[in-house]
């Protein structure tokens, strides 16, 4: 299988193997996107229609929006994900900088405290967190939806590593100029961390955008649901006839933001994914 692959004569074989894998793996995504533009009976048509014969620009999307508050879902998902990104990036960088460059009592202990939370799977939190949020009176509100995920320990962990690599002389120079510590963070540390912050922002966005369990349990109003939960309305069993066209249209909409991030920030995207994997 691994016989001298890199000698030129064997490359067509490699290409064919890679092509086959790529086609098999990409097919479901292709099917989703093309089905979003098909007329409803065409979606189930066999042999399958590789390209919509009766091409519909917005029909399926309109159908999806008529049946459920699709644009509210989209808005809620965006609000949810963007808030998490902004807060995690800012406070993660601030705390990472604090842990990396200051020597205050209890530093190691507090750092382990934060890192420990990385090991907690969300499933163990969902029941007690739900009860806690109910006590706060935040059940079925934006506050209850958004606040518990505002920060992710991974942000602190990643930012501490990058902040530790910043040269101390730079900070000292700033201090000699009379800058306050917070000013140093805003004007020197944050700009220098921008590449790492971009990767972090992308990974947090992916996690938040795909979040399912917490939004599923904490809100009941349709207008408060996020896209990932709302999506199941189109294909779920209590819906007698699944609306596959609408389901594919909504699924395509749910994939577009992440696909855009991938298209425009490919390097940061891959870096973020790898960094998130190696955290443990």
């Amino acid at each position: 299988m691994f016989a001298d692959f890199d000698k030129p004569p064997f490359r067509p074989l490699l290409f064919m193997a890679a092509l086959l894998l790529a086609v098999v793996w990409a097919f479901p995504i292709y099917f989703m996107v093309t089905s979003a533009f098909k007329a409803e009976p065409e979606i189930m048509a066999l042999p399958i229609h590789w390209w919509p014969q009766d091409f519909q620009w917005l029909g399926r999307f309109r159908e999806a929006a008529d049946f459920a508050p699709l644009w509210w879902y989209f808005f809620n998902s965006s609000l949810f994900a963007v808030t998490h990104v902004v807060i995690t990036v800012f406070f993660g960088a601030l705390a990472g900088f604090g842990f990396a460059k200051y020597d205050f009592p209890g530093r190691t202990l507090l750092f382990y405290f934060v890192i420990c939370t990385l090991m907690i799977p969300f499933q163990i939190l969902v029941v007690p967190l739900f009860i806690e949020i109910r006590l706060f009176g935040w059940e079925n509100t934006y506050a209850g939806l958004v606040i518990p995920g505002l920060m992710h320990a991974f942000g602190v962990f990643m930012m501490r590593q990058y902040a530790a690599d910043l040269p101390d002389e730079l900070l000292e120079a700033g201090r000699i100029d009379g800058a306050s510590e917070f000013y140093l963070f805003l004007r020197i540390v944050l700009p220098l961390l921008t590449p790492a912050l971009t990767s972090l922002a992308i990974i947090i966005f992916i996690w938040s955008w795909g979040a399912f369990l917490w939004p599923l349990v904490v809100v009941q109003d349709r207008e408060l649901n996020v896209l990932s939960v709302g999506l199941t309305n189109y294909s779920q069993p209590y819906q007698q006839v699944p609306m596959w066209g609408a389901a594919m249209a909504a699924s395509t909409i749910a994939t577009i933001p992440i696909a855009c991030l991938f298209a425009f920030f490919q390097r940061y995207f891959i870096k973020g994914l790898t960094a998130a994997a190696i955290k443990g």
Partner: protein
């Protein structure tokens, strides 16, 4: 004077980390302890919680739903993790070779990482329709028009594993590729000069260098698989169905907690899950120490 200000500025570090620490105290660490406390009670959200000691855990031992979910989770973890480990490595090695069109094909292969898991579930629910596309691919040429992929208690759990693996293999390929990129070029060049074949180079040079990655992929993919529930919720005909054949622990927490409102039982199940995941993490750390 100078000395005092220098010591003083370190307190700023505490100020900087404080928001994060307080947040995790309230929304992570407290709920874990609180969850353990709830698991020692009977609580239905309406009446006062009632302390029952370890009864909830004891009851789990002969709770048929729990035992089913436990078994299904283990089957899923082992069934899903091993193929992921091997296939993602094989694909990474393939895409690590130099050939024309590699970047484009790699990008196509990577596409399943983009949609959220719920979207994956919805797409595959359609593809695996009994008279759908996958039936046509699998049996269309033989005149088979109906395969109950998701309605059969043997096929459904298998479908969960296949779809899960389809979705995560490209992700783990990226992790392996990062590991492969870290293998020193000089080592490969030296081996090539010594006349090593590609297979020998892979076996004797790349693999030993990839040990840390190997442990990482194994641990990460099994921890991921332990927490699975979105596919079983949204792709199965009904959550955990048919006939509880895809009921996993993550789904059972949801069922006990938010369908039956048995918060004590739900919390007990989640504590068991946490313990199992901690064991996997401990094994990973043990391996890591040996690797280094």
């Amino acid at each position: 004077m100078l000395k005092r200000t220098r010591l003083g500025r370190h307190w700023w570090g505490l100020v900087f980390v404080l928001p994060v620490v307080l947040f995790f105290a309230v929304f992570s660490v407290f709920p874990v302890l609180f969850g353990f406390a709830i698991s020692l009670t009977d609580y239905n959200l309406l009446d006062e919680p009632f302390y029952v000691g370890f009864d909830n855990y004891r009851n789990l031992l002969d709770d048929r739903l729990f035992l089913t979910a436990f078994k299904n989770t283990l089957v899923f973890v082992f069934g899903a993790t091993l193929p992921v480990w091997i296939l993602s490595l094989a694909v990474a090695v393939l895409f690590d070779q130099a050939f024309r069109g590699r970047e484009f094909l790699k990008t196509l292969f990577f596409l399943p990482v983009l949609p959220p898991v719920v979207v994956v579930a919805v797409i595959w629910r359609l593809l695996l329709h009994p008279n759908g596309v996958m039936t046509w691919f699998a049996g269309g040429h033989q005149g088979i028009t109906e395969i109950p992929w998701l309605a059969n208690t043997t096929l459904a759990p298998l479908a969960m594993i296949v779809v899960h693996d389809w979705a995560v293999i490209p992700f783990f390929m990226v992790i392996w590729l990062a590991g492969l990129a870290g293998v020193p070029r000089e080592l490969r060049e030296a081996a090539r000069l010594d006349g090593a074949s590609s297979w020998q180079m892979f076996w004797h040079i790349d693999l030993p260098q990839l040990r840390a990655t190997a442990v990482l992929v194994a641990a990460l993919s099994s921890i991921n698989a332990f927490q699975t529930f979105t596919l079983q919720y949204a792709m199965a005909p009904d959550p955990g169905g048919p006939a509880n054949s895809t009921l996993v622990l993550g789904l059972l927490v949801l069922k006990y907690g938010f369908q039956y409102f048995r918060m004590g039982d739900a919390a007990a199940v989640s504590v068991v899950m946490f313990a199992m995941i901690l064991v996997v993490t401990a094994i990973q750390l043990g391996f890591n120490r040996r690797v280094r």
